[in-house]
Symmetry: C2
Amino acid sequence: MTDIEIIALTGGIGGCKLALGLQHIVRAERLACIVNTGDDFRHLGLHISPDLDTALYTLAGLNDPVQGWGRRDETWTFMRVLEELGAPTWFRLGDGDLGLHVERTRRLAAGESLTAVMDDVRQRYGVPTRLLPMTDAQVRTIVETDAGALEFQDYFVRRRAEPRVHRVRYDGADAATTTAGIDSAFASPSLRAIVLCPSNPLLSVDPLLAVPGLRARLRSRDVPLVAVCPLIAGQAVKGPTAKIFDELGLPRTPAAIAAHYGELLDGLVIDARDADWADRCGCATTVAQTLMQSLDDRVQLAHATLEFASRLRR
Amino acid sequence: MTDIEIIALTGGIGGCKLALGLQHIVRAERLACIVNTGDDFRHLGLHISPDLDTALYTLAGLNDPVQGWGRRDETWTFMRVLEELGAPTWFRLGDGDLGLHVERTRRLAAGESLTAVMDDVRQRYGVPTRLLPMTDAQVRTIVETDAGALEFQDYFVRRRAEPRVHRVRYDGADAATTTAGIDSAFASPSLRAIVLCPSNPLLSVDPLLAVPGLRARLRSRDVPLVAVCPLIAGQAVKGPTAKIFDELGLPRTPAAIAAHYGELLDGLVIDARDADWADRCGCATTVAQTLMQSLDDRVQLAHATLEFASRLRR
């Protein structure tokens, strides 16, 4: 991976939209996406990696464009039988999606690493982007709420992010190490920028930053790191970001996002609707159209982000 | 299970046809099917019980009437993805079928017995027949062939029963115990007959007989035991029975079937086409139409079998 030019750090749906834009403008095999695995969990005996799979399906063009998660042209016979059997059905698994979960679980049990399995799978699906789990170790995002300490999917899917959040922690992160693939991407002489995609800072990006080796590599980088603000006029495009910010007493502003990432950040891409925050973020900013509805929106934002990074010094 | 009137021992497709016929004429919850689990195996990390599932689907009216195995109205998205991923696809798993495998594997891993899971499942599907695995322990039918010692599904499905068979053994059977459900069925004061369904004697029935406790209960029974001959004019309706008999030097005759079961047998139901064997089997016989094409055929054969048993003394 000596040719990596851009490293993107991402969670699920929102972040992967930008990753797809980046994939369109960065040459094949020159983009590395390091993906949150704090949401990974074991369900029905299967290893499930929601963010990695959203990244895979999005970058392979296999994602369901309507519901946002899962595969397009999916069938649901498996879930219907689970219902008949009285099995847990709160986490929806399409029949095709299940193929990936079962085969990955089998290969992990046979001793392969998550990194190796995902690299093989993304190549089989013709994805030109390196898809890198943030670690091959187990990190579990735990959401401490009014309803107790909840595993991420329990909080996010089963309880629809309804419980009030007090704190988010990342169990196992302290002991988690990065992978050879990640180390190699950071060591690439071609590297020119690192992008924090517009994912939920607390639920999707912070787990990545909680892996000590990853945080150390970000800190010791010699290329600019830019983030795309996940809030537009105080609102998240999708998901509970705004609600959680309120619950934790964080202002829903670009300045709060910049403050959250602190010294890690060289620059922040903010939406045109937040243009009046441009000079009040404590770091360099650029104004762009950050709402990604079409593929063209994704590509344009990717262009704006990399162009912005190229203007920043490190 | 003090009300059990009939115990049927069965393997997969052929035997289950008669089991369905019996289910139509025995009152609800009065029929117990003890099913071969020597074919069970672990595939893709899942516990798969082919004969139990054929019994379940057949008795629930969910079986695919065309291919014989699996569920009707099945979808195959999961298998298509396994192919995309380069995963093993020699054992075909429909999306709905997979629901049972995944949920059963989960429940077994959580400490439930195979017996408990299957009893819950058959009740959920409204099956009035007690569906009893021959044991909750692991027994593995191993087919010793020209191509080496093969696990059953490897021999039967992957290699299409093509290798020449020298011997069949039942690993783990010696140490396997019966279940409380089986013991209770045999202890039923209402019991009036035991039926060996027309399954392959070596591949499907002998694994059952190899479980010491089951064999002992059959031997110490005080009701008649009748078998339905799985060969008609020397041919099996389906599957490799005839081929294996040839490979093992066994004549493909009702007399050879009777001799195979030996003293266990009180009577043998033979097909009209084998009527000339009626007096040459070394046990009581009755002649019936044993080819089961329609549901009516199944019911008629069940009637003939139980009527025959009722005429026998023990």
